[in-house]
Symmetry: C2
DNA sequence: TAAAAAGGAATGAACGTTCATTCTACTAAT
DNA sequence: ATTAGTAGAATGAACGTTCATTCCTTTTTA
């Protein structure tokens, strides 16, 4: 097993365990065990558990942004751009349930608040595409003239909720149901 | 201090600590300390920590349901009923931030999944008012003909998100902003 | 004064982290 | 080509801490 392999195994094992069992159900010993490495080895790659978790979150973000921006056309009408981005995001979550579960856990933890703070008040690249879309939407009078945070809530709130329900098996979202749900989200934000 | 007082103090202290610091930041010793009782005393009222937490959640539910149903008129039009209920819910959360923070923590924990499962698939009274409203809304063709879980997501998703943003201080929701936000939610679910 | 309630030190399990040791792969010397 | 030496990666038992829970003593109540 080559050097970067171990790091990768540790990250993968952490994602699996935390997504499936929550932070409580993922002690370092268990992560080490599932990764097939010694407990001490983790500390050769990550200073401590916090750093491991924060790093994992960062890596997930970097997988998501390109995924939703694929085939995104910034010159199309607001409505199409919104439906493209939000549908792509929901589909990413459905296609990568471990990523979704981990991100949810992360957001609802002490780590998450600092992160939210940065996202809403600060610079933080990545969500920029959504922010630009909403700012354009307001300027072009295609969307309701509400504070950005509220538009985010109207769009992301339902997306996260249906993704959770689907992944936990409470509902089944097929292609057309996804599309109808995202149309409903658009009704929420559109003027 | 009379007998039921101690129990009440324990529940209050648990709510405060868990809402402010999360489950991690609320060890039994600290709860006992803030409640002004001995650590062992808690176990005279609650079998263990799980029972304490579950019981606390149950009590919060019982405070919320009456609060949102006050002055609710089941014979009014769907739109008015929806705006009444959702506005009342958001206002309850804003007025009782500790309750809100605790409920959020609870939902995003092992406890929460079982609870969700019961809410969506099962009988469980309490959310009945919302369920009836949505079923009426679909029948009367005032709301989109989507699965109940998705209508719930479209309505509650944004409510929870804006409540969180307000309580964490990212936005300020005054009377009119609340009203405009709930109108936007209605646009999401209405036909 | 007997019984119930309250208190808080004691207990043991679980956890994150450390560190002395072992293993591995590569280089230098013969 | 073989051996000896070395650096750093990997290991996992051991440590100290934290926490829920228990248990025995003290206080209050009836």
């Amino acid at each position: 097993m080559s050097k970067p392999d171990k790091r990768e195994e540790i990250v993968r094992a952490s994602l699996e365990l935390i997504a499936e069992q929550g932070f409580h159900g993922a002690p370092m010993a268990m992560i080490a065990n599932r990764a097939g490495v010694g407990a001490g080895t983790i500390y050769r790659y990550f200073e401590n558990k916090d750093v491991l978790i924060t790093e994992l979150y960062r890596e997930l973000e970097e997988r998501i942004y390109p995924a939703i921006q694929e085939r995104y056309a910034a010159e199309k009408p607001i409505r199409e751009r919104f439906l493209h981005l939000s549908t792509a995001l929901l589909q990413y979550f459905i296609g990568n349930p471990l990523d979704f579960r981990f991100i949810e856990q992360f957001h609802n933890s002490p780590y998450g608040v600092a992160c939210r703070r940065g996202k809403l008040l600060g610079e933080k690249e990545g969500c920029d595409t959504f922010r630009e879309l909403f700012e354009d939407g307001i300027t072009q009078q295609a969307m309701k003239d509400l504070p950005l945070a509220i538009l985010f809530a109207l769009a992301f709130g339902p997306i996260l909720a249906v993704a959770r329900d689907h992944i936990l098996g409470f509902i089944v979202l097929d292609e057309t149901m996804i599309s109808r749900t995202m149309e409903a989200c658009w009704d929420g934000v559109r003027r």
